[in-house]
């Protein structure tokens, strides 16, 4: 109530002398802080039952080339040769779970087209993003830029590890790997 009262007051007094305005403005700010204060930190809907994580620590250690998730370049150890059989499995899986929103060209449908995605991003970034989209959309600068463009959060399609790896192989095939 105090907050709203101050806010209303501020609006009615904006053309009064600067000094008064500053006093009221600072009161308003104080009121905002006190009304938002308290022990609990806000958490996202998906993490409601978990303890909030420190954003500061993440910002320092977050690797935008790798993304967030369990995959690393070492773990993936991508070959420079295509695994045709695996790419076929990936194509089938993506027809069920991905191609409603992604085309194989550079044309955006719901999400961006897949053409050259393996050249724009590392394999581990792609793997982390498709298996762990929500945490990455919350902090990855590239993922956030895509969200601003597409306005639909990429859904978690509950890909298994094998499916995700096969889809990456299919993406590599689309990008011309032999």
């Amino acid at each position: 109530m105090i907050f709203y009262w101050n806010f209303a007051l501020k609006l009615t007094l904006t053309d009064i002398i600067m000094k008064t305005f500053k006093v009221i403005a600072s009161l308003t700010i104080a009121a905002i802080f006190s009304s938002c204060g308290g022990e609990d930190k806000p958490t996202t809907a998906t993490a409601a039952q978990e303890e909030p994580q420190s954003m500061v620590k993440d910002a320092e250690t977050y690797d935008p080339k790798r993304g967030e998730g369990k995959y690393t370049a070492e773990l993936l150890a991508l070959s420079d040769k295509l695994d045709e059989a695996q790419a076929k499995i990936g194509e089938d899986a993506s027809n069920v779970k991905c191609t409603s929103c992604h085309k194989m060209t550079d044309e955006k449908l719901v999400g961006p087209g897949w053409k050259d995605v393996t050249k724009r991003r590392t394999g581990e970034w792609i793997m982390n993003f498709i298996t762990n989209p929500d945490p990455m959309i919350d902090k990855d600068p590239e993922a956030q830029a895509m969200l601003e463009l597409c306005l639909v959060r990429m859904p978690n399609q509950s890909l298994t590890d094998d499916e995700a790896r096969a889809i990456l192989e299919y993406m590599r095939k689309v990008d011309g790997l032999k």
């Binding site: 609990d40 958490t43 409601a48 039952q49 027809n95 069920v96 779970k97 191609t99 409603s100 929103c101 085309k103 044309e107 449908l109 719901v110 306005l151 639909v152 959060r153 859904p155 978690n156 399609q157 509950s158 890909l159």
Partner: protein, 662 residues
């Protein structure tokens, strides 16, 4: 307060003026200062307890979180639910099939959580249909009705779905005795005594899959079976049913079924019944009843009409059933956690009789009988009686138990909960309810190991408890903290329909088993489109099948032409999402049924018969993303005999998608 009630009772004022005179005065005194904290669950935090509450004449079952009293879900069971497409989608219509055809409504009175070793195992919850006699099984991984079985030879399934301590059987006793299904039912109603029979159905439950089957029925004399409970612990192997209308009246039961000083509790030795079945004593009777099951693989229900049931005759096989006299029109018939005490509440009686299982067995062995009723031995009242709770209040109905040897009985007429000790039968505490309590429930209150802590009163009258909403008010439930010696009222919360019995279980027994979505790879629906490449529109005569997909935020196909007047269009919509809490809805203008609500990975079908030539919009009804308002499409309907070709697609201006359409 107590004096007031006594005075009222003495003058007979209660009967003359009805419920309102029992309204306790000065309701503000009933709540103590810390009630708010006890019922408070912070935003984003989970409740401690699931409360499964019968929806009464709504036909559904509701799920509340306690202690907050938050409504978590309404599970459609016996009544159609257009919100969820239940009974409207082609897949769910068979669930409501009966021997009478599709029955879109019922009256769900009692719930029972499945048990292992007499404790809740969190697998299923059962509900009864009181009107067109049925029992439903709800799966607690999906919170969805998975099976409904109809009961032959039954007039109204009230004393149900009570279960044995390892969920071997769910019972169903008929409230209305009626002529058996294979007899000529076209008889004068006043031939009740001669032609009307009561049956008790024992429905077996598959240990792993929960599948129900009517194992046998016991044919009994024509009376009204009211409520029942399985024996447990020492009394496992027996079932106890309260019976009223032993006058066998067929009209003005209000007076004519209240003549005798004592009606009966019927004790049924179901282990003995099993032996007779093994020995081939059952009679195979021709009947007709529906058995409906829902598959989470095909996402489709099937209904089968069965034609035979096995019936045992209680008159011929004398050592299955015994009557125990019980004061005036017993209602609740509840068994203590050890299984030794059977608490029967004569709703017009001034005492609560407590029977002893041990004494009952001895009385049977010693043939301490008081003659027979319709060929069934009647045990002498005193021979089975452990003792009576004296002056408990007025109108005792139902009893549940805590972990410390106490019982809690609801008193309808005097509108209170009475706590008493099972051993010494002394009243410990009484608290008013607002108003006219029917059922009550304690967390784990019918198990071998009650949890206690909370008691919930389900009241029949609401009156001034909430803001007025016209002549009809939500029914009111009240939460009591029973952790101390005195019960403390901590919360009122409104309920759906009319709650009768409810059960409460610690959330930890259920919450981690919850299914979050269905795997699209495992979807075995014959009309599923697993990915947009499988979408298509197929005409078969005047039937048109649309294999459609939904994903944030478009339908495929979203433009359909070539539909003609006289067509039946089936929209088979597959939700391609694979994440928790992303259902899509589907609706089309002019549909005479309802919407679909499709869970991730599932396929559901809406039948649409166009009634007008022109353009019909369709859209997703469940807000799914920032572009939800864009999740729409059009169907063009042309006159019958038109030559507009069948054409469909999404984003058909793009060349590669256009190639997919014909």
């Amino acid at each position: 307060m107590k004096n007031l009630f006594k005075m009222v009772a003495l003058t007979g004022f209660v009967a003359a003026t009805g419920l309102q005179s029992c309204k306790p005065k000065d309701t503000s005194n009933a709540v103590s200062g810390d009630a708010g904290i006890k019922a408070y669950v912070a935003p984003g935090k989970y409740d401690e307890v699931y409360n499964f509450v019968s929806g009464g004449f709504s036909g559904q079952m509701s799920v509340y979180g306690l202690p907050s009293g938050r409504l978590l879900r309404v599970i459609p069971v016996f009544s159609v639910d257009p919100e969820k497409g239940w009974g409207y989608s082609e897949e769910t219509k068979p669930m409501l099939n009966t021997s009478h055809g599709m029955v879109p409504w019922d009256d769900l009175h009692h719930v029972q959580l499945s048990k292992t070793n007499g404790e809740y195992d969190g697998k299923w919850v059962f509900g009864n249909a009181n009107n067109t006699p049925r029992v439903a099984r709800i799966d607690l991984t999906t919170f969805r009705t998975q099976e409904i079985i109809e009961l032959p030879n039954s007039g109204g399934n009230h004393s149900s779905p009570f279960i044995t301590e390892n969920t071997e059987y769910v019972v169903a006793g008929t409230r209305f005795s009626v002529p058996m299904d294979d007899a000529n039912g076209d008889v004068a109603i006043d031939t009740y005594k001669e032609n009307f029979k009561g049956t008790l159905s024992f429905i077996s439950v598959g240990k792993e899959d929960g599948k129900m089957d009517i194992a046998f029925q016991i044919q009994c004399p024509g009376v009204n079976f009211d409520l029942s409970r399985a024996g447990k612990g020492v009394s496992n192997g027996w079932f106890f049913f309260s019976c009223y209308n032993t006058e066998q009246a067929n009209t003005l039961l209000e007076v004519n079924a209240s003549q005798k000083d004592k009606d009966f509790v019927m004790a049924v030795n179901w282990k003995k019944a099993e032996e007779y079945i093994k020995a081939g004593k059952g009679r195979k009777q021709a009947v007709k009843y529906a058995h409906n099951t829902y598959s989470e693989k095909t996402h489709t229900a099937t209904s089968e009409i069965k034609t035979e049931v096995l019936v045992l005759d209680s008159k011929e096989l004398k050592d299955i059933c015994y009557f125990i006299p019980c004061p005036k029109s017993p209602h609740g018939c509840d068994v203590s956690p050890t299984g030794e005490y059977i608490v029967a509440s004569g709703k017009l009686a001034a005492v609560i009789p407590v029977f002893s299982y041990d004494k009952m067995l001895k009385a049977i062995a010693a043939k301490s009988f008081d003659g027979e009723f319709e060929g069934i031995p009647v045990i002498k009242y005193e021979s089975a009686l452990y003792g009576e709770v004296k002056k408990p209040g007025l109108g005792p109905l139902h009893t549940e138990f805590d972990a410390d040897g106490n019982a809690y009985t609801s008193m309808f007429v005097s509108s209170e909960v009475v706590k008493w000790n099972i051993k010494d039968l002394k009243v410990i505490d009484r608290q008013p309810t607002y108003y006219s309590i029917g059922h009550l429930c304690v967390v784990g209150g019918d198990t071998k190991k009650p949890t206690g802590k909370y008691l919930i009163a389900y009241n029949k009258i609401t009156k001034d408890r909430y803001l007025p909403t016209g002549p009809e008010l939500s029914q009111s439930a009240q939460l009591f903290d029973i952790s101390g010696e005195k019960m403390k009222l901590i919360l009122d919360f409104p309920t759906i329909g009319e709650p009768h019995y409810a059960q409460a279980v610690l959330a930890s027994v259920i919450k981690d088993k919850s299914v979050k979505m269905f795997k699209i790879e495992e979807n075995a629906h014959p009309y599923a489109a697993k990915g947009e490449k499988e979408t298509k529109v197929v005409r078969e005569g005047n039937k048109v099948h649309v294999y459609m997909t939904a994903i944030r935020s478009h339908l495929t196909p979203d433009n359909i032409e070539g539909i003609k007047m006289g067509d039946e269009v089936y929209f088979h919509v597959t939700n391609l999402e694979q994440d928790w809490d992303v259902p899509h809805g589907f609706a089309i203008k002019g549909a005479d049924n309802a919407e679909l609500l499709i869970m991730p990975g599932e396929t559901q079908t809406l039948k649409w018969v166009p009634t007008k030539v022109g353009i019909s919009p369709m859209y997703c009804t469940d807000f799914c993303s920032a572009l939800h308002q864009e999740m729409t499409g059009y169907v063009r309907v042309s006159p019958a005999g038109s030559n507009v070709p069948l054409k469909f697609g999404t984003g058909i201006t793009k060349p590669e998608v256009a190639a997919a359409s014909k």
